[in-house]
């Protein structure tokens, strides 16, 4: 079966591990458990009648304590850049990280997940900013690892983009 390496990238506590857990195990934990290191999971998805194994690299979130090793991105077919929609700065951090990723591995299919979409009252990313990002070529999904909203859709979208490449 065809396999594609997908990396989950973004700041700490934006919900990368939760998105993977929601996709792989259909589960969500309210409590925040920080990720140290890398955790690799697999998930078979079907897109266009074709089965595809996503090898999901859940890479620890960057912060003042840990910087990401670019060697983890080797052989990556696509990535999901995750930002927390209730913390505007995580979007800017994610975009800064994206620049380093593109410089390292070049252009590969990517999707921007604005996670925690269930927390509408705390949402900090305004439509104008989203419109800017879309205009800049980003595929955007409002995901919620908690409710499962748009999680599978986001991964399927990326899968299709990777297969189309």
């Amino acid at each position: 079966m065809l396999q594609k390496k997908v990396c989950m990238l973004g700041s700490f506590s934006v919900g990368k591990s939760s998105l993977v857990r929601r996709l792989v195990e259909s589960m969500f934990d309210e409590q925040y458990h920080t990720t140290i290191g890398v955790k690799v999971d697999k998930k078979v998805v079907n897109t266009g009648g074709e089965d595809l194994t996503l090898v999901l690299w859940d890479i620890y979130g960057e912060d003042v304590f840990q910087k990401m090793r670019m060697s983890y991105l080797r052989g990556m077919h696509g990535y999901i850049l995750v930002a927390d929609g209730t913390r505007r700065q995580t979007l800017e951090d994610a975009l800064a990280l994206n620049e380093r990723v593109v410089a390292e591995v070049g252009k590969v299919p990517a999707l921007l997940a604005l996670n925690k979409s269930d927390l509408t009252d705390q949402w900090e990313i305004d439509p104008a900013r989203e419109a800017q990002l879309t205009a800049a070529g980003w595929t955007l999904e409002h995901t919620s690892a908690k409710t499962g909203d748009a999680v599978e859709k986001a991964f399927l979208h990326l899968a299709q983009a990777m297969l189309a490449k």
Partner: protein, 699 residues
Amino acid sequence: MPAHSIFESFLAGQGCALFEYLGDGDFRLLGEWPDWCANIWGAQPNSDQPIGLAGKSPFLGNFLVDAEEFWRTRSPGSANSGNWIERGADGREIPMEATARSLDGKRILLLQNLSETFGQQQQWFQTARNSLLEHEKLLKEIQKKEILLHCIVHDLTQPLSAMNGVFNLLERENLPAALRKYIKAGERESQRQERMIRGILEAFSSDLAAQQSRETSAAEAPDLLACAKQAIEEFSPAFRERQIGLSLGAHAGSSRGWRVVGDSSRIDRILGNLLENAMRYAPKASTVTIGLENHEGFVLAFVDDEGPGLPPDQRPEQLFALFSKGKSHAGKAGLGLYFCKITVERWGGAIGAEIRKGGGSRFWFRLPRVSQSAENVTTAASRSKSVDKETPHSHKKAEKSLRILIAEDAELNRDLIIELLKKRGHVAIGVTDGRRALAALEEHDFDVVLLDEEMPGMTGLQTTAAIRRREAATGKHQIIIGISGHATADDEHRFREAGMDSSLAKPVEVKTLYKAVESAARNLHSTAAHSQPQHAAEPGAATAPAAAPSVAAQARADSSAHAGAENEDALTHLRRTTGGNEKLIRSLAATFLADAPKALGRMRSAVAKKNAAELASAAHLLKGSLAIFGAPKAVASARHLEALGRANNLREATASLRTLESEFALLQHELRAIHSAAKPKSQAPRQSRVSSKGARQKK
């Protein structure tokens, strides 16, 4: 037990498994196959059989590329994989780490189960990151409260400003003396209330703002002696009126310099509060003295009075507590000294009060002195040099005075451009739309016309078309420069296609503006000197003078030269765009503070009433004003709201308006600081409108 067996057992006991790399992703086990390996990868393989570890673990497979490179280059030391997690057959997560080494010419890989230490590491990271999240939350809460407070204060002060205005108007009427007395009293009280409300704002917002607005470099740090002199200058009339002397006492150790950590506008306010306090208690014919002393590491400033001393029922430190006030002055909010205390303490200083030996009281504060290190001096010198180089040049009078017409609906933008052009020695006339521009052109000759792209009634492009149509009959060519909210190459192209000669991006920067108008006019004159006028010009056709160097392109280059400009605060932005014209900056801030809330109010009302056209119009006006102060986020929100209004789509308008309001409140806060930093004498009347005097009347 053989030595190697002891060693292998020891390694296994330490949670390690040792392998020799055979190539092609295969390994040979050296020693024991620990239980945790069995949990992850199954039972121990046959000792003769190579183990394909790279195939068993994608992470390890990835690390093997680095490890192979390490072994190939015979690098010293070791290569480390970083932590990763494997899941065992029993579902347990096993944290691991791989290390590659070369030993006796062999390529050795050590796999280590980190379960024992990982928990502790995890806990440490968890705690640290939770703290970061808590900190973020707290900052957000503070910011929310700040914005709320600003909104409340704004709502409270707005009627007072109106009342002050009414009192001012009444004062000018020819009223009986008794009535004038009442009006004066009313005015005084409303002003007092306004000061108290502002005091509340400053006291409660100083926590954040004070931290953000502190200078620690010698070049930028406030000079306490200069602040003291300024305070004396400002307060002398009030003291004289009360027949109290005010003087600057001896300042000891002056050779060391008086630069301290802090922010000059807030130091001014602290000194102001202490002087107001002294003025209330000092008896007639006495003297209040401001003194400075230079001590090791800090500067001490004090205000001495000859009054009754400190209240006997209060300890000195209680005077600086929140809402502390003397019984005889019940009208005071009790915030002034509290504001001084929290501000000074935020800067690492201290504040206090004491009874003077000879009678009276001393209120003092001390602030850390900023050392004039060689580096700072150099930086300051080079910075001042660059300012010297730029500012006078920017406002140097032009070689030739030009007559310039500006059509721009946003008042603040119009005023800014007019003022900058006047500084340069040009004659500038402002009108609010395209039709008025056409009317002005009927009446007067202008060397250059600046047209805003988006104006109500007749846009800049429509006005250009009308001007060019008229020129078909006269054969003249009017220099037209378009002003656009953007500075893209597409805009520039569009403007030229429409018949404009050049374009400028908003907010207009001083250097770019001068360059645009002067080079365009110069080109026109040189063309006129060398050729006869041509006729029947198509828009943008050959009658246009040799194109002025692409000003929009220059603006783009300038803006990229100001990398990070989008993060600069309003004051820095204004200093850059106005060439450091402080008077103009204060005037712009005052005008914005007075007018922009009305535009925002119009937008609120338009959203509430679902009036899309009104929303687009008000958002357009506000967008232009906001752009003058940088404020990219606020501008983007206003632009979005304008677009929503034009598209008659108000679904997202409430959320966008909320964003705009937040950004607006932050900008207001910055501008109030700029405004309040102004001396009272310069706070005054707004820029007077430019008259048409000076433009050449058409015969």
